[in-house]
Point group: C2
Chain length 203, copies 2
DNA sequence: GTCCTTATTAACTGAATGTTCAATTTAAAT
DNA sequence: ATTTAAATTGAACATTCAGTTAATAAGGAC
């Protein structure tokens, strides 16, 4: 019999294995039976804790999203000097810790699920809107300090988030490990260029 | 019995229904049985044409990717004048036809599959590299004409593609239909700003 | 050591999974 | 009208699916 653990330990352990199974086999390969086999426990034990697979998916999404919230809360960019603060923020956003916080393969699976699961969709929207609020607040303060020249902090946040997501996306397809660092720098500098030159009028 | 059609008609029809089932139920809900039911045909007929589900997935990916190739080949930006040509290209990339060419929900499913299916991954990489080549060739000609100021056309293509992908991604989460057009314009203008200001040195 | 909660397994279900192979229908060619 | 090839169905296959219910095992409180 598997070593006895309490719910507080076992549930996250199951979620972690669910997560890893999705990374390795996709959502279509992440059945309860396979997760149980990978953990050397009985499938019924998983049902005991989550009742339905739908529940387990929701809790998995919460588990992943929580990783992002922790990232956000731990940014706490140190510098008070706006210029240094701006650069530190950019370093964090395009940094390694941020990129590796979650497995991009699982991220895509979750996003794919969100298109036909409204609970998942709701949670993703909430996460994104929190991220957007955080960024736009920062950009607002940079505007006030006069070190970036953009017109609308919210629109700016959307643009930077889009670039960040595009970066995550393509890092898997372009790279050519030797080019990874180059690509990262290109994206980061492009973001800074945009922040400092604003949106010109190309009418 | 379902009306008799030949392979040339039936196979694409099956792929189309596979595609739509993925959009509605995700890859995990797109079983052969469900696809057959939706088409009012017998599941065996699907096996007859594709032999295995794995084959069917590969052919679906080819089917989707072909839509993108058609887009690329039909761009054929008309203007010879470089300045008009640049703007027309940007209009196409951020245009409605481009955005709606495939269902983003299916795109995400395919990308998610690519992480644990090397055949799918290979095909996506090939598509992206073709797109990158097309864009970098265009950017090279704009550089020669002196209407954009970037240093490397390939890096530039990667950046623009990342922005485009980020745009596709977030259009589903930000919008607020009233803002959709605004967001699109913001992204397009940002891309133009980058092309014209290049990557500044923020050392 | 007994009680009591809870973790874990055992045994099972009915439905759905992808797949196989033979039988049947259809339409075109001769 | 007969032949022929292809399209379509039918019935079965072992396996896996998520889920149910009851039994067992383990550990903490007293």
């Amino acid at each position: 019999m598997a070593s006895r653990k309490n719910a507080e330990l076992r549930k996250p352990e199951i979620l972690k294995n669910f997560y890893e199974t999705i990374v390795e086999q996709g959502i279509e390969g992440a059945s309860i039976g396979r997760i149980a086999k990978r953990m050397n426990i009985h499938p019924s034990l998983i049902m005991h804790y989550f009742s339905t697979k739908e529940n387990m998916i929701i809790e998995l999404v919460d588990y992943i999203i929580n990783k992002y919230w922790l990232l956000l809360k731990n940014i706490q960019v140190g510098h008070a000097d706006p210029h240094a603060r701006l650069h530190e923020l950019m370093d964090v956003l395009w940094g390694d810790e941020w990129y590796r916080a979650t497995d991009i393969s699982a991220d895509f699976s979750v996003i794919a699920i969100s298109f036909h699961n409204s609970e998942v969709s709701k949670r993703l929207k909430h996460l994104y809107s929190g991220f957007k609020r955080y960024l736009s607040d920062e950009f607002k303060s940079f505007m006030d300090a006069g070190i970036i020249s953009v017109q609308d902090p919210v629109h700016t946040a959307e643009i930077i988030m889009s670039m960040l997501e595009g970066y995550r996306h393509f890092n898997n397809f372009f790279v050519d490990n030797a080019r990874a660092e180059q690509y990262r720098q290109d994206m980061k500098r492009s973001a800074l260029t945009l922040l400092q030159h604003g949106l010109d009028d190309h009418a």
